[in-house]
Symmetry: C2
């Protein structure tokens, strides 16, 4: 059961993006498990990928293909399978990913490096490559502009809900659309490996600006969520601008239209990222952890992640226990040099629980318990040593988290 | 239920160490909650403490008192309460710890800095200082050499078993004793805050060598265990040499007797540290994570902790699921620069599950399942890039971990 409103919105069509999908029987029957995106010629594509040293074969190949793409010859297709991550699969894994791209390129009459592959699912098993290759033509046969919701379903693993966001916006009198999907029920799902997100707009944006927009917005969305502190082998996020709605190309961040696009993309990316937390494994609460008063962004993040990933805090959140000693513990272990604990303040919602490093004398358990009873909770920390601020989103740790992860493969 | 054999051994008396305890009613009735150690004049004392930026008042004061001690005027008393950590208690917390030392010093006719205070229990509440002060004389009245087991019970919080280790050894024809106790059911227990350990020998060892022995052995014992990745505000470990069994003082690590003492202390410290993991919150399995073939010790530890603290691996261990993709995920996310995944090998017990970064073709689920069915499991990783090796001890993550930590304060 996901936390809060996770309803799929109306998924506006993005001019220049078509989506096809099929059942390739990668792992389970009776489900769409192969999705193909087609982008109109002239689309500009940017990607960010997992930092894992065990990056999966499709991640390695997608990065290689993006590097080989010139601005004039950008990727035209994405191919995504669920059920198998093609991670920790060695040389054969890379060969299989390469074959997949070659086959799609051949059928679609593009260069192999114009196809980016993505996989999500079980780690350490080889792809059922014949079934996958046989699924490509059927997927191409269903290419259609109105299939975003099908795609959101088609990339799910143990997600309990499909995840999408869509907005329309206006620049110089032209109406543009931005639509995206994501999957993942943890920052990670090392088994059902992990987080994927695909966002497209029909606005005209240069390659450099597409890359800049993606990197700017991923930093505070997908790079600020955590379910369990684990990082997957397959995390990938792609942003595409097809230019098919017309208008002059946005080539600089000084262009006033850049700011509008940035705002829309920020909202879409934040929504897609937070949907993953709301659907976190076993999650019963959605937690916002804001750390301010830091000397720099890094230490704000270090403290926010120390709180967000602490199993002791996550279990207290599950139990609705305003156990603020655990928050102080997590601040203390975050590795901040020369932190003056007597300057630290902590709030649960609007209730100040820790004043100058000690218990707030005005605080009562009842006040804390009232905040903890909510489904959506904000933990706010002031480190009292600077102006930096950052926010991380997470969920609680419940019996169901253990159940899901202890039972999953059986 | 602790994992494996956690029986208290016969606790040999250490000449020059007396222990008293009483019920001071710090938090709960009907239990010993105040323990005093007395060391004979001439004892040499060393301590190591938590790295937390929110170090508790007794940690700050113990460090201060140790710094103020000359070799001739070493600490003579330890005073330890359970039920309240005196952490995140600000100025009043430090005043209370200071009062406790002053009162004991007055009653025992020593200097206040010759008393080291320790607290463990709930964070963020002030000590019931009057009850604590009133308990000191009754505790002193019971001082006795044979009370090590009473002390092991007297420092417990949510530990399910008392924890002790004891050995006798011979140096130049003299029989010496080394005995120690520890508490903690997590590397941490931020609520019932945490890990304490006290080890004493009646061998004659100089101040410098006592410190060196402690630092050397703590590094591979208490600094290599993790239950949940959380670090407490109160962790403290003390090693004392009373010299009361006679013999010439060991003043250098070149002394052949130093090596014998080091061996004994290593075994005692490893046992006391591993007992904490065996009694880890909700633990059903004891896990040894060995990482070899690293370029240096730090990266071996980074990978070992990444595996040991991964909730996804810990839940798979609980479920006896040989889910090796999760181990590969944890290696990948450990932040090792330029790791060549094609050189990585992974074993579960004696079964090689990952060969050259991919699935071992000879591996079957049945082989992995047989290892996972054991109560004591070794995960071994070879990074294939050097000669360094290190080992971390941990436990699994069960429903009971969530239950204990979600229900504890209610």
């Amino acid at each position: 059961m996901a936390v809060g409103d996770v309803t799929m919105p109306h998924m506006h069509v993005v001019k220049g993006v078509k989506i096809g999908s099929t059942q390739a029987y990668v792992r389970y029957p009776n489900r769409r498990d192969l999705v193909v995106f087609e982008f109109a010629e002239g689309s500009q594509v940017a990607g960010v990928f997992t930092q894992s040293a065990f990056a999966a074969a499709p991640v390695l190949l997608s990065k290689k293909h993006l590097n080989e793409s010139s601005s004039a010859q950008q990727p035209r297709y994405l191919i995504i399978n669920t059920g198998n991550a093609n991670a920790a699969t060695g040389k054969l894994g890379l060969e299989n990913a390469t074959k997949t791209c070659a086959k799609l390129a051949e059928l679609a009459h593009v260069q192999p490096h114009q196809v980016l592959p993505f996989s999500t699912g079980v780690i350490g098993e080889q792809l059922p490559i014949e079934r996958l290759l046989n699924g490509i033509q059927p997927a191409l046969d269903t290419l259609d502009e109105a299939s975003w919701t099908d795609a959101a379903f088609g990339i799910m693993t143990t997600d309990t809900v499909p995840k999408g966001a869509s907005e329309q916006f206006e620049l110089d009198g032209i109406t543009y659309t931005m639509t995206g999907i994501s999957k993942g029920a943890g920052m990670i799902r090392p088994n059902m490996a992990t987080m994927l997100s695909f966002v497209a707009t029909d606005a005209p944006i240069s390659q450099a600006m597409v890359q800049q927009l993606l990197q700017t917005t991923v930093e505070h969305s997908f790079n600020r969520i955590t379910i369990d502190g684990d990082t997957s082998t397959n995390d990938s996020c792609i942003f595409v601008a097809t230019a098919q709605a017309g208008g002059n190309v946005i080539e600089s961040s000084d262009d006033a239209r850049y700011t509008v696009v940035l705002d829309v993309l920020t909202r879409i990316m934040n929504r897609l990222a937070q949907l993953i937390v709301r659907d976190g494994e076993g999650a019963t609460k959605f937690i916002t952890v804001t750390v301010e008063g830091g000397a720099n962004t890094q230490e704000c993040c270090d403290v926010a992640y120390s709180i967000s990933d602490s199993p002791l805090i996550k279990t207290a959140l599950f139990a609705s226990d305003p156990n603020w000693g655990r928050i102080v513990m997590a601040i203390g272990k975050a590795g901040i040099q020369n932190l003056d604990s007597s300057k630290v303040q902590v709030w649960l919602g609007d209730v100040q629980i820790c004043l100058d490093g000690g218990a707030n004398p005005d605080y009562t358990e009842e006040m804390g318990a009232a905040v903890m009873a909510e489904k959506e909770i904000t933990i706010r920390v002031d480190l009292g040593r600077g102006q930096a601020k950052d926010t991380v989103y997470t969920c609680d740790l419940s019996y169901d988290y253990v159940k899901i992860n202890a039972d999953y493969r059986s």
